[in-house]
């Protein structure tokens, strides 16, 4: 099972990117094999719909999302796809995965940031 962590870089020791739709990288972490695979986010500069596009990209590759914040459209799309969402992650990708595995992250049950809030931050 894959966990997707939004990150500023493509590595396990990259910092978590608090934005979901416009994060720099999606780092996919396989909980069984511990293998890491990163995908550069093509939606960073989308004029609109970044959260929806990113959610579709992630939904095809992971069952769990770990990020900082989720906007309304990303939340709606991931929720429809049945993806478990955890927000409030900080530190490195590795630390975020460890926090998830230790049950320290809160499950997101509603969006916690506004549309467009990930632009140019």
């Amino acid at each position: 099972m894959n966990v997707c962590v939004t990150a500023l870089g493509p590595m396990e020791n990259s910092e978590v990117d608090p934005r979901f739709g416009r994060c720099a990288y999606f780092v996919f972490f396989n909980l069984h094999t511990r293998a890491v695979e990163a995908v550069k986010n093509p939606n960073v500069e989308a004029s609109g719909g970044a959260g929806i596009q990113s959610a579709q990209l992630v939904a095809s590759r992971a069952a769990i999302v770990v990020t900082g914040h989720l906007g309304p459209n990303a939340f709606k799309t991931l929720n429809a796809a049945g993806i478990s969402m955890f927000s409030g992650a900080t530190g490195t990708v590795k630390e975020a995965v460890a926090a998830y595995e230790a049950g320290k992250l809160a499950r997101a049950t509603a969006p916690d940031s506004a549309s467009k809030s990930g632009i140019a931050s």
Binding site: G48, G49, I52, A59, K76, T77, A81, S115
Partner: protein, 288 residues
């Protein structure tokens, strides 16, 4: 004649110029096309008689007929549709009406005919009068993005024979282009500051590309430097009027008061502005 008042930079005095120009003309149609933040009504205080909704068609998915093929999301340029795969079951289509630009591609191209369109209100057009001025403005609902659509609907109410003033939105992007497209003349209001000049040059690029005759009004003259006037001279752009940087004007503005109907000196500035507009427009017509 349709005269648009635009600026590039916001807050240079578009509405002040547009409103007071309207006040010195005998009979005029006034359109506030800054539908994201209309404010001319604060000064003209029109009696609004007619309010009409502006609606756009947005897709509604018939889940029964939808095959989940994904064609709709594929053709949507604004990502207003998402197709969510559910392994072993039919894919699910999500609609995000706020992102929809109402182009109609999804409903036209759906192979299953599973998309119908539903009207969604994005704002209103209000029409009324204040004295001899026929007043119209658009108001976009909070959170909407399709201001050019509302501006085009608003301009659909322009009467071909009437002298018309269009107060344009700030900036140089789609809403401004929608507001000034097809006008006979464009007044660009600037202020003598580096920021005012910078955005004036962008606005000049727009009106030149759109081949609209134009001139400049320098508002708050005396503030800042002479760079805006130097620029106009170098570019052979007529300066139609100068309005001094004056505390009295600012005080009046802050209380929603007007200028041209309150003092003969102010009336003279805007009367001459209109004469200069007509003169520059006539010269442009002769040259073309």
């Amino acid at each position: 004649m349709i005269i648009a008042v635009a600026s590039g930079k916001g807050g240079t005095g578009k509405t002040t110029v547009a409103v007071n120009l309207a006040l010195v003309l005998e009979k005029v149609d006034f359109f506030d096309s800054d539908v994201e933040e209309p404010n001319a009504h604060l000064f003209l205080k029109p009696d609004i008689k007619i309010t009409s909704e502006v609606a756009v068609p947005v897709p509604v998915i018939d889940a029964g007929n939808c095959t989940g093929c994904g064609k709709c999301a594929e053709v949507c340029a604004y990502h207003a549709l998402a197709v969510i795969p559910h392994p072993g079951k039919k894919s699910q289509v999500l609609v995000f009406p706020h992102l929809c630009h109402a182009c109609g591609a999804c409903s036209l191209l759906c192979p299953a005919g599973a998309i119908r369109e539903e009207a969604r209100n994005i704002g209103v057009i209000e029409e009324g009068e204040c004295g001899n001025i026929r007043f119209l403005h658009g108001k976009m609902n909070v959170g909407e993005v399709l201001s050019p659509t509302i501006i085009r609907r608003l301009k659909g109410k322009v009467r071909p024979d009437a002298v018309t003033i269009i107060d344009a939105p700030p900036g140089t992007s789609c809403p401004v282009v929608a507001a000034i497209r097809g006008v006979d003349f464009c007044v660009l209001v600037t202020e003598p500051t580096p920021f005012g000049l910078h955005d004036l040059t962008l606005a000049v690029d727009v009106v030149r590309q759109m081949k609209i005759p134009f001139g400049v009004v320098i508002n708050r003259a005396g503030l800042g430097n002479d760079a805006a006037e130097d620029y106009c001279r170098a570019e052979k752009i007529p300066v139609l009027a100068k309005i001094l940087f004056d505390r009295e004007i600012a005080v009046r503005y802050s209380t929603g008061d007007t200028l041209a109907d309150k003092s003969p000196e102010m009336a003279k500035i805007f009367t001459e502005l209109y004469q200069n507009i007509c003169q520059v427009k006539n010269e442009a017509d002769r040259c073309s």
